[in-house]
Every structure is written in C-alpha cells, then in structure tokens.
C-alpha cells in the first residue's frame, strides 16, 4: 500500500466571480522511501498540490489517503496533528522564527506535540548534528548564512521523525553552490530511507530525483517514473 494515495483531486477557487481550477483531477501514488520532484511553471498548481499533500489545505473533491488516514475530510485539529507528526516542511525563505535561537526553532514542533523540555533539547541537538549544525544551536537565524538557515530548517523538519518531507523551492533563495549542498542533503535523507518531495520550477533541480512529475494547468502533464521505465531518461527529452 502506498504512503500517499491521491484519487481525482480537484481544487477550485472563486476569485471575483471567476472560477479557477488550480487542480483538475490529479491522481497519484507515492510509496514510502521515494524521492520525487513536482515540477511546473508558476501558476501550474504545483504549490496547491503541495499544500494539499502537506495538509495545509483541503481539496474541493477527491480522496487522499496518507499513511492509512483519509485526510481529505479531516478536521483542522486533526490536520494540525498530522502536520506536526507525519509531515516536515522546508520552505524557500527558511521560515525560522527570528526571535528564537536555532535550537528553540528546532524544538518548536515538539512543543506542539507536548514533549518535555529535556527530551526536546536532546532530540533537537540530535537533529541539528545530523545536519552538522550543532555548533550553531545558540545562534539566532539572523546570525546565520542562508545555507545554515536552510539546514536549521531541515533539522526542524526532521525533528519529529515525519513520514514525508516537503521542500518548496528549497534552493530558491540560495546561491548555486549552497543549493547543491542542500540538494545533496536531501539525497542523503533519501538514501537513509526517508520520503522526500521537492517542489520546484527548475528542471535542473528536479533532475536530482529519480521520479519527476510535471504539473501543467492543474493536471499531471508528464511523469517520469523509473519503476515503470526501467531507466532514468534525461528530463525534457520525453516531451
């Protein structure tokens, strides 16, 4: 059974009398341990898809099964709990809280899962050392470089041992060298058996993942899946 199972997801917005179909019948299976990228130009619906998969939003219609739970009609409270325990987010702008230290930022998800202070500290430090940031734990985000901030954000995403990690343009705010380091870090997480989904508009970044899904106008336009093809074709040729 797949980790994530989407069936016929629709999402429509109403903006000033106009109906916008952000997602228009998306069906998708993602297995545990996969490394996937969602690619598409801005306005294609890829962000909407990620928000729905990340339980930040709910679809207008269709069903989603995440790890055995039907999340398309879950309450706000249940969604918050799923985001807390099963999902890790990494954002383009890092989204660390500026008033807190790196360690306090990493502890934040565990505060909402109700762990004790001592356990929080231990797990935060473990998570920070897995991204080689343990020596920066007392710094504020503003004292760190972009790459360091993003590593701290990855540590935060990992700290509750989520089933799936969503990264929304994780290298979009970094220089290319640092971006490569961050992508290598995601690859390493994949090697360790984690499920990682990159969302990007950049085919070069998407190229690091074995499986790539291209979204256009709210539909899956193109999919490259090594399980089906047997080999990894170079992205862009299949068009």
């Amino acid at each position: 059974m797949p980790l994530l199972e989407l069936r016929d997801i629709h999402k429509t917005y109403h903006l000033g009398g106009e109906t916008i179909r952000a997602l228009d019948g998306v069906s998708l299976d993602i297995d545990s341990g996969e490394f996937i990228s969602i690619i598409g130009p801005s306005g294609s619906g890829k962000s909407t898809l990620m928000h729905i998969l990340g339980c930040l939003d709910t679809p207008t219609s269709g069903t989603i099964n995440l790890d055995g739970m039907m999340i398309h009609d879950a309450s706000a409270r249940q969604l918050a709990a799923i985001r807390n325990k099963k999902i890790g987010f990494v954002f383009q702008f890092f989204n660390l809280l500026p008033k807190l230290t790196v360690r306090q930022n990493v502890e934040l998800p565990m505060i909402y899962s109700g762990l004790s202070g001592k356990e929080r500290r231990e797990r935060a430090m473990n998570s920070l050392s897995s991204v080689n940031m343990e020596d920066r734990s007392k710094h504020r985000p503003s004292q760190l470089s972009g790459g360091q901030q993003q590593r701290a954000a990855i540590a935060r995403a990992l700290v509750n041992d989520p089933r799936i990690i969503f990264a929304d343009e994780p290298t979009g705010n970094l220089d290319s060298n640092t971006g490569v380091l961050i992508l290598e870090m995601f690859d390493k997480l994949h090697q360790e058996g984690r499920t990682v989904m990159l969302v990007t508009h950049d085919p070069e970044i998407a190229a690091v993942t074995p499986r790539r899904i291209e979204i256009r106008d709210g539909k899956i336009a193109n999919e490259i899946d090594p399980k089906l093809a047997g080999e990894i074709p170079k992205f862009g040729q299949s068009k």
Binding site: H51, L56, L96, K99, L108, I111, G114
Partner: protein, 461 residues
C-alpha cells in the same frame, strides 16, 4: 502544547517589546490603582462612620423625646401633656421587658446661655451637663478612666459631684502639666452656674483610631496636635464625616451629675413640687436585640400611652436613620468609584486589544509557520490570549504595588478627609478585574489569529 510553555512564550513575547507592553499596561495599572484607592478612602470613611455609630450607642440605643406637636385630634389636651417624667422611667422599668437600662436624662447646654461652667476665670466654650443615672454611661458608651462614678447615695442626697469629659479638663486645667504628664483633676472643684461641684471622675478621651495614632506619634515627637476640626469637615461639604467627628467632640464635652442634684441645685425655674413630675429632656434605654426593634418600640409606646393618659406627646429617636444614611452614602461613593475604575479598566482593556491586534498583524508569518509545523487553532488562540492576560496581570500587580503610594500621597494632600483604609479584599477584587479585563481584551485578537489561513499567512510579508 502545555500551559507552562504557553505562559513562557507569552512572557518572552512581552519582554521582546517591553516598552510597548509597559505603555499598554498603564491603563490597567491606573484602573487597578484607582479601584484600590477609591475603596480605601470609602472604607476609611465607612470605618469612621460605623465607629461613631457604635460610639453613640449603636443601633440598640433608643431615646424617647418630648414631642410638643400633638396629633390634631389631641390638640385641645395640650395642657395635660407633661412630657417625659421619672414616672415613665419607673413604669418602663417594670413593664417593658424588651428594654433595659431605662435612664432619665435632663440636659443643659452651655451655648443656650442658661449654663456657665467655669473655674478661676476660665470658662468652658461648650459643655453639655447631663443630670442622669450612672446607667447612662453604658447607653452612651462612656468609659471612666479616672476616679469613680457617682453612687445612689450621691443621687439621693443631691451631692454636688460631677464626672467630666476630657475637653472640659482641657479648657479649665489644660491637658498636660509642666512635666508633660496628663492632668487628672480628681478632687478639684469647678463652678457650674456659680455652684461648686467636686470632680469625682473623668472619662477617657474619645477619638477616632486615626486621631489616636496621630496623637501618639505627635506625643512621641514631643509636639502637640491640633484638635480634629469637625467644623471644617462639616463646612467643606463632607457632612457625614463632620457629624461623625462631632460625636467624638461632643462626648468629650460632657459633664455628668446626679439627676437629683441637677433638679434641686441647677433648676432655678422649677417650682412645681415633686421631682417625679419634673419633665425630662429625654429617656434613654437599650434594647436587648436589634431584630426586635419594632416590637420593643411598640412595647415602650404601649406603656407610655398608659402613663400619658393616651396623649401621644413623645417620639422615638433611633439610630436606624443614621445607619441607613451611612450605608446609602457609602454605597453611592462605592458605585461612583467603581464607575471611574471601571472606565479606567475599560480604556486599559481597549489598549490591550489595540496592541494585540497590531502585534498579530506583525506576526502573521510567525503564526503561519507555527501552524505549518503543527500548532492547532487552539494553540494559537491560547498563545495570544495568554500574552494579553500576562500584560493585564503584570499591570494588575504593578497597580497593586503603586496603589499604597497613591493612597498615602492623596491622604497627605487631603488633611480633613477621613484616613483611608486599604483592605486585602479590595486588592483581590481589583486584581481579579485586571485578569478579567485581560481575558476579554485578548479574546478578539486571539480568535482573529487562530482563524488565519496558514497558506496565506506563510505568504505574508
């Protein structure tokens, strides 16, 4: 998210904007301080009034007065109306079991010109000479500090003996001698209408608790203290405090002598035979139980209607009116004070709403981040609410700290008013109100923050 981490993060957030938070707190500080101050002044006044009520005999005291104004249907019998006499006193003693200490009083006051109290050229400014029985002492809450009370024999023989209040002593002898010792003129003679009276006893000095404290402090510092000026209080519009202070002053100006002495030595105009028919100024008595006031009055009335041949030439004077006035005015002052403090707290609360709204609009992104990593709407709601309550509670505590300073400052500015009394109850109420203000003020911003859509909030710059 557990409570301690919510409160911790609330404190952090407020500390991060400590100046802004302090400004916001001022409304609550003022509200709490004014609530405590107001109630301290009202309580001080209430204490003084209640003390003075007790000092003048409490609610148990009943006085039966003459009433020259007969009902219309008895007007033609005016000549038969003798007023209260000793016969009534004995009749009440025998036949009215709900009252006790029935005591006759004939009172003469110096300012009416018929009385002159003097010694060696010094004259008492104001004196009230009461010819009575010793039982009046209990009714009017007199306490003897020096000497003795006059006996039945003094009364029977019409001995010229008297018990004086401290004000009479002050006017005729002075309060302290050269060594600074209190003067106790027991055994000395004073002249009442040129007849020498021997001082056999002196009452203690009656004064409010606050005046007593002031006097002791002044004594310790070797100074004399001015007499509390009830006239100033009376004239400045605080009629009840003036009345209350006057009760002390009047008690200190009392001279008590046996009733037979007064009738036989000081009554130059009395020529109608038996002492039993001498009309009294009033008959004072006490009731056993305040709850039977109505019944007791009815009983006394029934007895007096018998002795007065059905003529209603008497009236009752109870302290109920005074007690009612006290309660009413205290209540009024409390309500107006509450109103002012309430407005202060309301303004403070609106200040908190304002600052919390601007705080959450600054932190939309933070709220989005918190939600994306698993904060429920309730977590966000509680976080904002807690911050608001923390501001209000901190303001409340600061208000409680400020209020004694405020009370003392105001009390030192206003010498004539009654001294304020701060109570723990008032402080608890004020603090409770600050907590309620904080909770109500935080409600709307907290709901607004909790309702933020995480996706919109994450995009917000």
């Amino acid at each position: 998210m557990n409570l301690s981490s919510i409160i911790e993060s609330g404190f952090k957030e407020i500390w991060a904007h400590w100046f802004r938070s302090l400004l916001t707190m001022f409304g609550v500080i003022l509200g709490v301080a004014s609530l405590v101050t107001m109630s301290a002044f009202v309580k001080g006044k209430e204490n003084l009034l209640k003390d003075s009520l007790a000092e003048s005999g409490g609610l148990e005291r009943i006085i039966v007065d003459d009433n020259d104004d007969l009902p219309d249907y008895q007007k033609h019998l005016e000549d038969e109306a003798n007023g209260m006499t000793l016969k009534d006193v004995y009749a009440l003693q025998k036949n009215a079991p709900l009252v006790y200490n029935v005591t006759p009083v004939i009172e003469k006051r110096s300012y009416r010109g018929s009385l002159r109290v003097s010694r060696k050229g010094k004259r008492v400014r104001y004196a009230s000479v009461k010819g009575t029985w010793p039982s009046l002492m209990e009714i009017e809450e007199h306490e003897l500090e020096h000497g003795r009370v006059f006996s039945d024999m003094d009364d029977l023989l019409a001995n010229t003996v008297c018990i004086i209040g401290t004000q009479i002593r002050n006017d005729l002898f002075g309060e302290y001698d050269n060594q600074g010792e209190e003067i106790v003129p027991i055994g000395e003679k004073i002249m009442i209408n040129y007849i020498p009276f021997k001082i056999i006893g002196m009452f203690k000095q009656y004064m409010s608790e606050e005046d007593r404290k002031k006097k002791e402090e002044a004594r310790a510092a070797g100074q004399t203290v001015a007499r509390p000026d009830f006239r100033a209080a009376y004239m400045s519009g605080d009629r009840q405090s003036g009345t209350a202070m006057r009760i002390y002053s009047m008690k200190n100006s009392t001279i008590m002598i046996p009733i037979n002495t007064l009738v036989s030595k000081l009554d130059s105009d009395y020529d109608r035979g038996s002492n039993m028919d001498r009309s009294l100024s009033k008959v004072a008595m006490k009731i056993y139980d305040v709850s039977t006031l109505e019944k007791s009055l009815q009983q006394v009335r029934n007895v007096l209607m018998q002795t007065h041949k059905g003529l209603e030439d008497f009236e009752f004077e109870t302290q109920e009116g005074f007690a009612g006035d006290i309660n009413l005015s205290i209540q009024n002052e409390r309500i107006s004070g509450m109103f002012i403090a309430g407005i202060c707290l309301l303004v403070g609360g609106i200040g908190i709403v304002n600052i919390m709204l601007s705080s959450i609009s600054e932190r939309v992104r933070e709220i989005g981040i918190r939600k994306s990593i698993g904060a429920t709407n309730m977590d966000v709601f509680l976080q904002i609410l807690t911050e608001s309550i923390v501001i209000a509670v901190a303001g409340g505590i600061a208000g409680l700290i400020v209020s004694p300073i405020l009370v003392n400052t105001l009390a030192s500015f206003a010498d004539n008013t009654t001294p304020p009394v701060m109570t723990a109850f008032a402080m608890a109420v004020a603090f409770g109100f600050s907590v309620i203000t904080g909770s109500l003020a935080g409600l709307f911003p907290a709901i607004k923050a909790a309702k933020l859509d995480p996706i919109q909030a994450l995009r917000y710059d």
